[in-house]
């Protein structure tokens, strides 16, 4: 009488093991199918397995074959590939910063790709009230959590008033608390100040000796700055960045 029961027991154990093996295999296959497509800033693409879901990212190094590539992923030198909605929000934040005479503006991009409202901070920083507003919008209203934040620095400096803004992050921007729970770089939208070239004849004998007079003329151009706790990772003209993003948006 015990034998059939024992057989049944063995069969049931075997069935459980088989089910588990099938489940594990299925899970493993599903895991292998999850992959991240990394596009370097020079447009080279590399696909690696991993992550919670398949997605595209920008890795902020020139070459995906260099040893710096994996280190860059570890050092938060990546961001989720921006959507048109994100690019639109960036453009809007630039416009708001200029229209407000340089008041800083901020928004978050969520891990699920949601984009928060854009809020205005103070003239020289994003205050905690503004910061809370974007967090509440992204977390509670849009049901997402921050992947990275975007904030503006300065405006187009109408009239070239002092002090001049530097597009790079301040020490406050680089505080560890700002990167708690983050796996991606943060973004500053600002303006690079370029001095227009001084032209000389190139023939040294015709150039008067002594101090060269430099008629100082400057151009302000929109730039996007990616940074982490260590400082600026990469800086690019915003128009070049949007062209790059649109160019490689449909590549896998």
């Amino acid at each position: 009488m015990l034998r059939p029961i024992a057989c049944l027991g063995i069969l049931s154990v075997q069935f459980s093991l088989l089910s588990y093996a099938l489940y594990a295999q299925k899970n493993e296959t599903a895991k292998q199918e999850i992959q991240i497509t990394y596009t370097s800033i020079s447009g080279i693409t590399k696909v690696l397995p991993g992550g919670d879901r398949s997605k595209k990212m920008i890795v902020l190094v020139p070459d995906t074959n260099s040893k710096d590539f994996l280190q860059a992923i570890r050092d938060l030198q990546v961001i989720d590939y921006p959507t048109e909605e994100v690019l639109g929000a960036m453009n809007h934040a630039f416009d708001l910063a200029i229209a407000s005479g340089g008041y800083e503006h901020q928004f978050f991009v969520g891990k699920k790709g949601k984009v928060s409202i854009i809020v205005q901070g103070l003239k020289d920083r994003i205050d905690s009230i503004a910061n809370r507003k974007v967090r509440v919008d992204l977390d509670s209203i849009k049901g997402d959590e921050p992947a990275y934040d975007v904030h503006t620095h300065g405006d187009s400096l109408a009239g070239d008033v002092i002090p001049y803004f530097k597009p790079d992050p301040s020490d406050t921007d680089r505080l560890a608390i700002n990167f708690r729970g983050r796996r991606q770089a943060s973004v500053i939208l600002s303006f690079e100040r370029k001095k227009l070239p001084n032209l000389s004849t190139g023939n040294s004998t015709s150039v008067p000796f002594g101090s060269g007079s430099s008629e100082e003329k400057f151009i302000y151009t929109r730039v996007i700055v990616f940074y982490n706790q260590k400082g600026t990772i990469f800086k690019q003209y915003f128009s070049d960045f949007t062209t790059f993003v649109r160019l490689h948006a449909h590549e896998n």
Binding site: D160, R193, K195, N198, S200, V207, E216, K217
Partner: protein
């Protein structure tokens, strides 16, 4: 008396209106401007018979948030014949010479543990890395566009590192290389 007040009011209104219009014009104006105050300067170039001395000696201190960040100031001696100087921000500088010979200076205010070195670059990937990654705002169609000046292995390209500064002597004619290197080695922070 009331007439005087009226006239004063009209004059004041006109001033306020014209100020507002100027402000509006400023917002709409092209982005090219000159500094308001002549007491601020960005750099100086001194021309000598056999050389040019470029001083990045700006007295402007840029601000990031509410923190003032003192720029890294430097002096570099270069051969005579300089055609044009370019700058981008407070950390990228370019000097154009005839036949597309270029000297770049890049300053890295965030870096640490630098080792001074100098060596000839034989591989275009190393220059591309620097030009695309660190000097891309200077290597641009409105500045020193390197698309029209690709790495030439038959010319001399040298990398010189001095603390937080990286100097790239790019596509220098071989007969000029030693002079460019000797002068560039004189780079010093102020």
């Amino acid at each position: 008396m009331p007439t005087k007040i009226k006239i004063t009011f009209i004059i004041l209104s006109c001033h306020i209106l014209s100020f507002g219009l100027c402000q509006g014009q400023n917002n709409l104006a092209l982005t090219t401007r000159t500094p308001i105050s002549p007491s601020f300067h960005f750099d100086s170039t001194m021309y000598y018979q056999d050389s040019v001395v470029y001083l990045f000696n700006t007295n402007m201190i840029p601000r990031s948030d509410n923190e003032f960040i003192r720029p890294l100031l430097f002096r570099i001696k270069l051969p005579a014949g300089l055609l044009c100087t370019y700058t981008s921000g407070f950390d990228a500088f370019g000097f154009l010479y005839p036949e597309k010979q270029v000297v770049f200076v890049h300053l890295d205010p965030y870096g640490e543990n630098f080792h001074d070195t100098s060596y000839r670059i034989m591989d275009k990937r190393e220059t591309e890395r620097l030009l695309l990654y660190k000097l891309n705002t200077l290597n641009h169609r409105d500045q020193l566009d390197m698309d029209g000046n690709p790495f030439d292995p038959n010319r001399s390209t040298w990398l010189i590192k001095r603390g937080k500064a990286t100097i790239l002597l790019y596509n220098i004619n071989n007969e000029n290389a030693s002079r460019f290197i000797r002068y560039a080695m004189s780079f010093s922070f102020l």
